[in-house]
């Protein structure tokens, strides 16, 4: 199904809603075709394709809103869904903050967003890439015990129409691969990890990913226990990405901000982070992977300065139309694209995060470290006290001690519990190269922090 057909579906549903005497209506139609080949224990164990699509219908009768999302694309079912949204609006109490669905804007389709090779990738092509990753990993060392990971090829299309004259559409392709390597020597395991995301499946390089992950895995066998406390840390881009995802969740989304639980609210216009830290959300930046021109409401995605030279402000907050109306602001184009990103509760959220790069290489960061820890990846990060930006999480898949400028030995995984208002306040070095992490929603360099507080350790 083409994006043109989706436009047809949304226009038809809009027409049928408007026949029913509603004041405003909005219809988003989407289609997500995806294929994921997953492997573990050095063989493919889950291999799935899915075709998912549907409509999200919103109607307004005065200030009464009705919303229904139906994951169906058949005409009769869509008619039913329109009827249901109207039924909800008729009985729903007024939302006194509601002003209007978004006005149409000028928008531009983004260059190079869609790659047919990615959209039409065959199961055999994915299996071949998996085979390379497994073979390269095992060839790196006889200590390599198991290779795991997955490779994704997918395409996503979205068309949004509303009764104010909006008609916007966008489509993109998305490919991604991650490789985890487990090694073992005399009962002690080592772990390594690497990932890559791109709109182009042909860019995905399993050989490089496998080499990186297996090197780390073998090096991390027999980890030593070190004492808890504050350490200098060198974070790989993957590790650093966790901080920015969670700062977005607890800080930059309008949802926690309006609940009074965002740290941003209590530090407006303050220099809370290092001045080397500038982070924006910008779908138009050529370096971001997620190339969608408009959001789930058809609003053009705006560039939002999440952190400007260490300063956060009201301009850091990402809105959709509904949260914007509660503060007399305009949507920043951060309604999630329907059916693409899975969140237990959908909230306005940045998916084109770009952290401004610095000038250092990872080797230089390690050379400049007297006594510190190199972190490949964090596991199970979660906020502890969101208003103070306190996060916790564990290191994973390759954690090493740095002494006098050199990686000396692997260490057992450690738990940090620290406020980002301190950890990101003193960034001693920023990496010069950006990597697109987490399906490309966060594009971030490596970085070296003066200190991160480690509060616990595990046994491996």
């Amino acid at each position: 199904m083409s994006v043109e057909e989706l436009r047809g579906i949304s226009q038809k549903a809009l027409k049928s809603a408007l026949k029913e005497n509603v004041d405003q209506a909005q219809v988003a139609a989407f289609l997500f075709d995806s294929a994921r080949t997953r492997f573990a224990n050095s063989q493919i164990h889950q291999n799935v394709v899915s075709k998912k699509g549907g409509v999200a219908i919103k109607v307004a009768i005065g200030k009464r809103i009705g919303f229904m999302r139906a994951d169906v694309l058949e005409a009769e079912q869509i008619e039913n869904a329109v009827g249901q949204a109207i039924k909800i609006a008729r009985v729903n109490p007024e939302d006194k903050y509601f002003k209007s669905f978004p006005e149409p804007e000028r928008w531009q389709s983004l260059q190079d967003a869609f790659d047919d090779d990615t959209a039409n990738c065959s199961p055999d092509y994915r299996a071949e890439r998996v085979k390379e990753a497994i073979e390269v990993s095992h060839s790196e060392s006889p200590l390599v015990k198991a290779v795991a990971g997955s490779i994704l090829s997918s395409s996503y299309s979205l068309a949004v129409t509303n009764s104010l004259g909006m008609s916007a559409w966008t489509k993109m392709s998305l490919a991604s691969m991650n490789v985890t390597v487990i090694s073992e020597k005399t009962g002690s395991e080592g772990f390594g990890y690497a990932e890559q995301s791109s709109r182009h499946i042909k860019d995905i390089d399993p050989v490089k990913l496998a080499a990186q992950a297996s090197e780390k895995s073998v090096k991390s066998i027999n980890p030593a226990k070190i004492s808890l406390g504050e350490y200098e840390v060198v974070l790989s881009p993957i590790a650093a990405s966790s901080f920015f995802v969670f700062l977005s969740l607890i800080g930059f989304s309008a949802a926690p901000y309006q609940r009074g639980e965002s740290f941003v609210k209590y530090h407006l216009n303050e220099q809370v982070f290092d001045e080397k830290l500038s982070v924006k959300d910008d779908a138009g930046d050529p370096r971001t992977v997620f190339k969608l021109a408009v959001d789930g409401e058809g609003v053009t995605k705006k560039r939002v300065p999440l952190i400007d030279k260490g300063v956060v402000s009201e301009e850091s907050i990402c809105h959709d139309t509904s949260t914007a109306s509660r503060e007399d602001r305009q949507s920043t184009g951060h309604a999630l694209p329907h059916g693409l990103i899975r969140m237990t509760r959908p909230i306005p959220f940045p998916i084109n995060v770009i952290v401004h790069h610095g000038t250092a290489s990872v080797d230089e960061m390690i050379e400049e470290t007297g006594h510190g820890i190199f972190v490949t990846r964090f596991h199970y990060t979660n906020p502890v006290v969101p208003t103070k930006a306190v996060l916790t999480g564990l290191t994973r898949d390759g954690t090493f001690l740095i002494k006098n400028g050199e990686l000396t030995k692997p260490i057992k995984n450690m738990r940090y519990t620290d406020t980002m208002l301190s950890a990101l306040k003193r960034i001693s070095m920023m990496g010069k190269e950006l990597e697109a992490i987490r399906l490309g929603t966060v594009t971030v360099p490596a970085m070296k922090l003066e200190k991160l507080r480690f509060t616990g350790a595990t046994e491996y």
Partner: protein, 505 residues
Amino acid sequence: MHELKYQPVVKKVFYKPYGVINLSYDLGKKAINEALKLGASYADVRIGEIFDENLTVRRGVPEEVSLLYSRGMGIRVIVRGAWGFAGSIDLKSEGIAETAQKAVSVALASSKLKKKNIKLAAIAKSRKDEYSTPMKKDPFEVPLEDKVDVLLSAERTLAEQSPLIKSSSTFFRAFRENKLFMSNEGTEITQQITFCGGGLLCVAVRNSEVQRRSYPCSFRGNYSTAGYEFFESLALVEHAKETGLEAVRLLDAVKCPSGKTDLIITGEQLELQIHESCGHPTELDRALGMEADYAGTSFLTPDKLGKLVYGSENVNMVADATAPGGLGTFGYDDEGIPAKQVFLVKEGLFMGYQTSRETAGDLGLGKSSGGMRADSPLAIPLVRMTNINLLPGDWKREEIIEDTRHGFLMDTNRSWSIDDKRLNFQFGAEIGWEIKNGSKERMVKNPTYTGMTPQFWSSCDAISKDDWKMWGTPNCGKGVPAQVMYVGHGCGTARFGKTRIGVLQ
């Protein structure tokens, strides 16, 4: 030890809200035949639809009143000893053939990279059955206005308690899944699973001090496979006052001190402790390395089965898909295996896994524990928790408090994190109290505790029976692509000796 046994309830009533599809045996047969024709040695098909109603009232307005509907099918095949799966929203006859072909072609690609052929644990017999969640009042039949009214009124009461309450929200959710499972082995199961529930959340702010309090537990409340009568029993309006006042009182509470102490944990927090430290590590797919790339593996490796001391003798844990009202209660899992109760930990010893037919076969266990579920017909089933329950002990909750000379009590989860083998955990609760000479004394804010799974459960010296109940966790994430599953935990209050609390400085 108190074992809990129930009769499974089978009630053949199917409610028909908006858009109900025909759970068609003909469509299912067509899919299976198509897959067999293309060379599958095993094929199963799931056809289903999901209704998910979510209501949120905040600051006096309905912030979210939404209905989500999804439907589709999934075909899972074994071809040349390897798995393939295809899911689609397309339920038309031609679409089904196309989906079956995709599943087979994907399996063929898998078969090029297999080490051995998939072998499923046998089933006792093929079954034809129906199951439906027992309920008194269908939550989808209750007028929307009535539900919103309850939320508006509870929210008003919450907000009224103090000008320091800056945000107050009330939640309702009703969920229904109608589904058909068929396999080429002759199993045919139709099920209707319904759950509902709700809760309160309020945030109190003074200067930059922010505290939150939820009722009856976090994650938008408590949920049960039951009808609207469960939501009514939560009595949100009646509990709004106390919830609001506690949030405000927390602003004046002292910081949770740091140290090692006796720790009493109530069910509202203990359920997540059970979830993270027993539920996930006893999933056999994790223990066999199948989730190594994402959620991780497990410290409970197969060589430890029947040998490892997981906890003290007081600790008995089961995976129980038959527990009445449990959020993980059903008639059959998504491989057509009937709901059952299996021991994971018995008198402190690690005794069992949650399994699928494939993983049970891998380990030579003979049969599946019936733990396979998918969050949509378009997704593959994975080993998922059903209800992971800590069986009641001999204590009353008040007796545990009275018996504690000095310690802390923590209530309602606020933050959670655990390592990828499920050993080192750290939790935060919404509220805590210091216990002195057997009574609850001063309130503490931002309470946290941390530990290592087996050491922690080995320090468990008291488990209550009088406040034992089912808690529902509707947001358990697993798998790639990510799936979100609804699971349950039955527990009461328990005490743990010498636990490290107060991680924050």
